[in-house]
């Protein structure tokens, strides 16, 4: 019998931390992810590395931050010399399998993994309606038939609730009546508006140019559509988001039911997380890309349905910060394989085993190439770098001269991030400390120049628009 555990990494897409019934959300029902929560350790302070699919996934695959991977936004390309988790585990004696969404541009998933299922048309960003059920079938086929001598690592990339993106696209050029108007749902059946629907407009320039202005760099057509929404339409958007999550929860339930019937269940570590969250109406936003909590905080659960993997059960860790970069070293730790030396994350195994260990006191997050955030127990500091005068395509930082605008939130007193305290005199020491942490973190990164033409073009286009705003004062 293998002493090293099998490892199953189940991930969802665009799944905010609080969108689980296990964490008290009464507007959806997720019995299967809740089951993982009860059978393992889940983390309250769990953050993605970057709130967009490809970027966050490049961190899962490498244990590095997105300014290091070459994928600091959708459309980046993973640097070829960086090893991925499939390559490392395979070299360490594991059979490595992939199923479903990968979305790490620049790395052929078929070269690093044995692929169970990757779609008739290779799975890109979305399409859960086409792919998720088939992914479960592929996993069923695998679990019922795997007879290898080696332990396996299987990563299952479910696409939902990412399909909520298409729900939004559907509103771009037509008016869809709200369901109360149609007589389909009653108002009582819709979740309320989020507490932070109204927001502080003093945001970073990056944030505003990307998501707020009329010709926003990202999804301007959806932005135009939602400006016409009434309250019930916002609430119906939230209702739909929760249905997408219930749908993927059911897929996960089928995988867990099958695993339970196999000989693997007792010796399989299960990791569950999501690449990033969904704004879902918070700050009157939709989708991802922002550094608000709804976008950057994601579920992270380590579990075992049996007893042979060392994971403390029914443990809810409200103290320690965990990040998407920690997935890689955690898997390596359980697999008994040394991760590459330059991996930024740390193994979460001591926490999952209930050990009392010294731990990093903040989370570090990047966004849209120029955006940065430091999250501490009480504060969140969000800032940005101004585009360089001459762009060298090396992700920026640490550079105090180039910092742009900032946002500071007191999470204890303002958990919904509705009041930017950055200009309040009494918080200047806090801001200074956050900046020091930011620069200290960034000084440890091996930021590499973006070399591929396509991501360089994206940076150039965005940079041009951002510089217009900085140089011509379009945003004060």
């Amino acid at each position: 019998m293998n002493k090293r555990p099998n490892i199953l990494f189940i991930n969802t897409d665009q799944h905010s931390w609080d969108a689980l019934s296990a964490y008290g959300n009464p507007y959806l029902h997720t019995p299967n992810i809740d089951l993982l929560h009860r059978n393992g350790t889940s983390f309250k302070k769990s953050y993605c590395t970057d709130p967009v699919c490809a970027a966050a996934r490049s961190s899962w695959a490498t244990g590095l931050y997105t300014s290091e991977t070459g994928v600091p936004f959708n459309g980046g390309q993973l640097h070829t010399k960086i090893p991925d988790i499939g390559q490392i585990l395979r070299a360490g004696g594991y059979r490595v399998f992939h199923c479903g969404k990968w979305h790490v541009p620049g790395r052929n998933v078929r070269e690093s993994f044995e692929v169970l299922y990757y779609g008739g048309h290779d799975i890109g960003a979305g399409g859960a309606a086409y792919y998720d059920s088939a992914s479960t079938h592929a996993v069923a086929d695998f679990l019922m038939n795997y007879d290898g001598n080696e332990p396996f690592y299987l990563q299952i990339g479910y696409v939902d609730p990412h399909d909520v993106c298409e729900y939004l696209h559907n509103h771009e050029e037509k008016r869809i009546p709200n369901p109360v108007e149609q007589g389909i749902l009653t108002e009582d059946e819709l979740p309320p508006l989020p507490e932070n629907f109204d927001y502080d407009e003093r945001e970073t320039v990056l944030h505003r140019v990307c998501r707020r202005v009329d010709d926003a760099l990202i999804h301007a057509r959806i932005l135009k559509a939602v400006r016409d929404w009434d309250e019930l339409q916002w609430r119906y958007f939230r209702w739909n988001y929760y249905r997408f999550i219930e749908k993927v929860d059911a897929e996960i339930g089928r995988v867990l039911s099958m695993l339970r019937q196999t000989s693997f269940y007792d010796n399989t570590l299960i990791l569950f997380s999501a690449d990033h969250g969904e704004a879902c109406g918070s700050h009157q936003m939709f989708q991802k890309f922002s550094l608000y909590e709804e976008n950057v905080r994601v579920p992270f659960i380590m579990a075992c349905l049996g007893e042979n993997v060392s994971v403390k059960k029914d443990q809810f860790d409200e103290t320690h910060f965990v990040s998407g970069v920690d997935v890689f070293p955690t898997i390596c730790d359980y697999a008994g394989i040394d991760p590459p030396e330059d991996v930024q994350g740390v193994s979460l195994r001591p926490l999952a085993e209930g050990e009392d260990v010294a731990w990093q006191e903040y989370a570090y997050i990047e966004s849209n190439y120029w955006g940065r955030a430091i999250v501490t127990d009480q504060y969140k500091y969000v800032t940005e770098y101004k585009p360089k005068t001459v762009e060298d395509f090396v992700p920026p930082g640490p550079d105090s001269e180039q910092l742009g605008l900032a946002q500071l939130f007191d999470k204890h007193n303002d958990p919904w991030e509705t009041e930017n305290l950055v200009n309040a005199p009494e918080y200047q020491e806090i801001i200074k400390t956050c900046r020091e942490r930011l620069f200290a973190q960034e000084s440890q990164l091996n930021r590499q120049q973006i070399i591929h033409r396509s991501p360089k073009r994206i940076i150039s286009n965005w940079r041009k628009r951002l510089r217009e705003h900085w140089e011509h004062g379009k945003i004060k």
Binding site: H29, F97, C99, E114, V115, L116, Y117, Y118, G119, G120, H121, G124, A125, G126, G127, A128, A129, Y130, Y131, S133, A134, H137, A138, A140, D141, F142, M144, N145, D163, E166, Y167, H169, N170, E172, E173, K174, R175, I176, P177, P179, Q182, G183, I184, L185, R221, A225, D228, N240, R243, F244, E246, K247, D249, A250, R254, S257, M258, R260, Q261, T262
Partner: protein, 267 residues
């Protein structure tokens, strides 16, 4: 926002970078003689054999077009819903769902009682094939409902539970809705009722509580009555029925099924 489009919002996907043009293709499909003749066939209640063939149109084309896409072809697959009534008043269903974007070809065989809710009867079988050249190539599962309403699925000799149905609600398969909705149409539309129904989605996933109700009527491109299906764990779908009880359009988040042809006993 373009309000000039004649299509109902629930199946109007003629926007964004759609090329080929979704609306024009859908309208053209509805104008085919086979679809028109379906509307001329006799009432659903008198038929013992029916076969409806649907094209699958992707609601969002960019990123989901099939690998071997031909210029101007929007369809990404086919659904065939075939059912025949046996002498013992049980309906045998044979359904094929073939989708080139997912790469899956699913064959569903199941039985239903001859009631308007088409309750599942006996055992069922699903054959899945994947054409993607990945490790997953085939999967078969059998299923049955126990006397305690537990749903058991058997894959490769291993039995797993898919949940327990609520005995107070009729349980049917989503593919039987092609008959359930026309059968309930009058009650839903004329009487304004909503009905609750449990679904075994693709004969593997229990959706314990769903609501069916009347949505709207349209006169263009052809006269149709629309019905909605909402529920826990279910994304809304909209089912459009012609005057003779044929489902003509089914629209859900990602795909729209449009009737291509109907075959069957019209005696």
């Amino acid at each position: 926002m373009d309000d000039s489009n004649p299509l109902h919002w629930s199946f109007d996907y003629n926007h964004g970078a759609q090329n080929p043009d979704f609306a024009q293709i859908l309208i053209k499909l509805l104008d085919e003689p086979e679809v028109k003749s379906a509307a001329d066939s006799v009432s659903v209640d008198t038929e013992d054999f029916k076969k409806h063939v649907y094209q699958i149109l992707p609601n969002f084309w960019r990123g989901y077009k099939r690998r071997d896409n031909q210029e101007g072809v929007l369809s990404i697959g086919t659904v065939i819903v075939e059912r025949q009534k046996r002498n013992d008043d049980i309906w045998n269903y044979n359904v094929q769902y073939q989708n080139t974007t997912s790469g899956e070809d699913l064959r569903f065989q199941f039985h239903c009682q001859n009631e308007c809710y088409r309750p599942l009867y006996g055992s069922w079988r699903v054959d899945a094939q994947n054409s993607c050249n990945d490790r997953y190539s085939t999967l078969k599962w059998d299923g049955r409902l126990t006397s305690d309403a537990e749903i058991l699925i058997c894959i490769n000799g291993t039995e797993i539970t898919a949940g327990t149905a609520n005995n107070s609600l009729p349980l049917t398969c989503n593919w039987a809705l092609f008959d359930v909705i026309p059968a309930l149409a009058e009650r839903l539309k004329e009487l304004g009722d909503n009905v609750d129904i449990a679904l075994l989605d693709d004969l593997e996933q229990l959706r314990p509580k769903n609501k069916l109700g009347f949505l709207d009527s349209v006169h263009s491109p052809i006269p149709l009555d629309g019905y909605y299906l909402y529920g826990t764990g279910v994304l809304p779908s909209y089912w459009w029925v012609d005057a003779n009880g044929n489902i003509i359009i089914v629209s859900s988040t990602f795909e729209t099924l449009v009737l291509k042809e109907k075959m069957g006993d019209t005696s």
